[in-house]
Amino acid sequence: MSFNKQSPRRLRSAHSSLAAHGEAWVWLTGGSLAIAIGMITGLLLFITVRGASTFWPAAMELVELTDGRRVLGEITAREEVIDQSDDVPKPISRKLVRTANFEIDGKHYEWFDQGEILQISLPEWATAVERLEGGRFHGFPLRLLEGDRIVAEGSAQTWQAFVAVHAAARRRCCEALRIDRHDRGVLQRELRAARLAVVQADLDSGRESSTFAAAVASEQSVIKRTASQSVVLDQKTAALRNANVAWRVEFATAAGEKKMLALDSIVRAWQPNRLSVLGKLGVYGARWREFLVDDPREANSAGGVFPAILGTVAMTLIMSLLVAPFGVLAALYLREYATRGPLTTAVRIAINNLAGVPSIVYGAFGLGFFCYVLGAGIDDIFFQASLVADNQPTFGTGGLLWASLTLALLTLPVVIVATEEALSAVPNSMREGSYACGAGKWQTIRRIVLPRALPGIMTGLILAMARGAGEVAPLMLVGVKKLAVDLPIDSRFPFVHPEREFMHLAYLIYDVGFQSPNSQAARPMVFTITFLLIAIIVLLNGTAVWIRSRLQRRFIAQHF
């Protein structure tokens, strides 16, 4: 270095140099992060607020209009619009009211301009009724009848009497439903098994054989037994239904029309304007409980989503169980055994590209290969009777197993890449130390490398689970259905039924939100399902993160 007096190096003032201080970069990077966090929390907050408020019993407002109509409902939205009908466009505000009573005026919701509204009040006895069929009903209780006998009359008395008898009626109704669905299902399954046994015996040894005769005989005995059991069930349900059938409640709509509702068609009713906060909380909790543990009603737009919760969790867990060993073993070979060269590089690039293949392609592959090739093969060998007798495939159609396998394939690249990262992060000094102790390659991998890489592998699995649980497109092709009659996991042997079609929360969002004939009424449900799906993913991931942190503490905590 020369120190030339004539041309000293120009010293730039540190204050003027943006590049030196880099203040701008702090703002740029920090700003980017802030925007990202803002968007994510905004989205989560939006979903949480909308999803959590669906079941809150909102105030029931009586809207009196200038044209003399009276409407009872919950005000669910307000907005400002520009009125184009006048010569001079002017902003007007309008309200969206959930009017319910679809069978009377053909609408669930209605917009009212501010100018149309004469008066809004909160009538004390306004009642919201959730029905088994036909959506919500809003009105005022008039009378409670048992047959022709008037049990109670007037709003207060009727309500009191209704509360007293409704719970028992509802219980009887549920019990009858349970017998129809569950107990009769058991009988039908037994019948079908016996029938298929006959077909199987026919296929195996022909009609002349003794096994065929035995199968026919046992089918006859099953038919006889189930018939007698069925009679018992019929009596039971008839008794339950007869106890309910006489009970009716009469309501009056806001317009004054009278409407008779069967007591057992009412799921629940509440009078939000009379409820205290505690009472509202009770209704809120009851509706959440129904949402979480019951079957769906009314084309999935009401009732619960328990089958979908079970399906989502089961599929995600089975997918994780499938993808973890495959991905880890593949990554182990790639990182620990394979010689570095153009071939491994090509394989690696191919794996990364797999992550970019549209998920519907995986769905098509799953349907074409898993269902139609593998599944059909399994059916031909093991479930031929069902195919012959009912023309009904067992594994040859979409199901829990194929959906899980398809998603395992979809998330395989994530696991492989993450595992490779984790393996390459294991310091070579540890491998060398193990070799120097006389350990072989597999011993080193199993005892040193894998435990040390386990937290990183878990990270990959967490990412895969999050990706898999939120995927919809491929699932539509390989086993997720709008409504699945049987649960994929139940209390009957063998408990997990990998061949069954199932329901999935993410598909439910699509179905309820975009395939429902009544999308406006279903919209709150969409938010709630989304909220639930996110909560489940957070729960699954939280568990995995907790396991990972335990592993990390055990294997990585470096001390120096």
Partner: protein
Amino acid sequence: MQPQIDNRPENRVNATIPPQQSTPPPPADRLLAVAAGYEVPTEVHEQVLNESPVLEIDRFNLWYGTKQALHGITMPIPDKKVTALVGPSGCGKSTLLRSVNRLNDLVQSVRITGDMRLNGDSIYDPRMDVIDLRKRMGMVFQKPNPFPMSIYENVVYSLRIDGENNRGVLDEVCEASLRGAALWDEAKDRLYDSALGLSGGQQQRLCIARAIAAEPEVLLLDEPCSALDPIATGKVEDLIQELRGRYSVLIVTHNMQQASRTSDYTAFMYLGRLIEYGPTTEIFTKPILHETEAYVTGRFG
């Protein structure tokens, strides 16, 4: 991967031919001659040859790809003595050490000629099982590398991989090895805690305990103190003193004081060649070559 053994006569010795035979004679200074690519003879003191060797390194050459890292090293390592390898960075000390237990097999581009013999058994014989070979040696690395498991499991690791699961045997070996590595008193109450919770010096002594657990014939120490503070270094040096006479120790070090304090014999290496090899006292007080004297006294390197 099995390194390729090249035993063709033209490659066995003098693998590097001086650039031009007709150029002026080599510089008088041997280190300059080595740097210029000339062959120089190795000065080996009489005493070394009188010892009975545990390990004989015989005309050993090693290449990383096309670059030759070791040039015709021939040296016997005396049994039950401490032998130090000194020399400037990149002179091949660690490479030589890692060749003894064939850790260099893990590097794909390595190619060797010549041989080493451990108690008469050829190390680079194709019939030699490298895993058996490594079980006969213990190695301690520059940076402590305890395994991510308990202290106990670390020590008995080499027994575990042999399938030894007898609790009594393992307990005995664990205590003996930890006592041998002067770590028993500090670790006996936390045997089942993670080894990663130990301090750096303790971790290194744990690695020594691990290395001596399988009763090795040779103990290889690759700059065992370079990542330690002076107190931990002192403890490890004391330990080497105690191991002297029980194990044959081959130690690589950058620290001249350490070499002079701990070793019986010292070898001075330069650019992949063995320059001088003799008893430590002679190497440090009256070496044959003035170049060696310059290096060990710090006037060069």
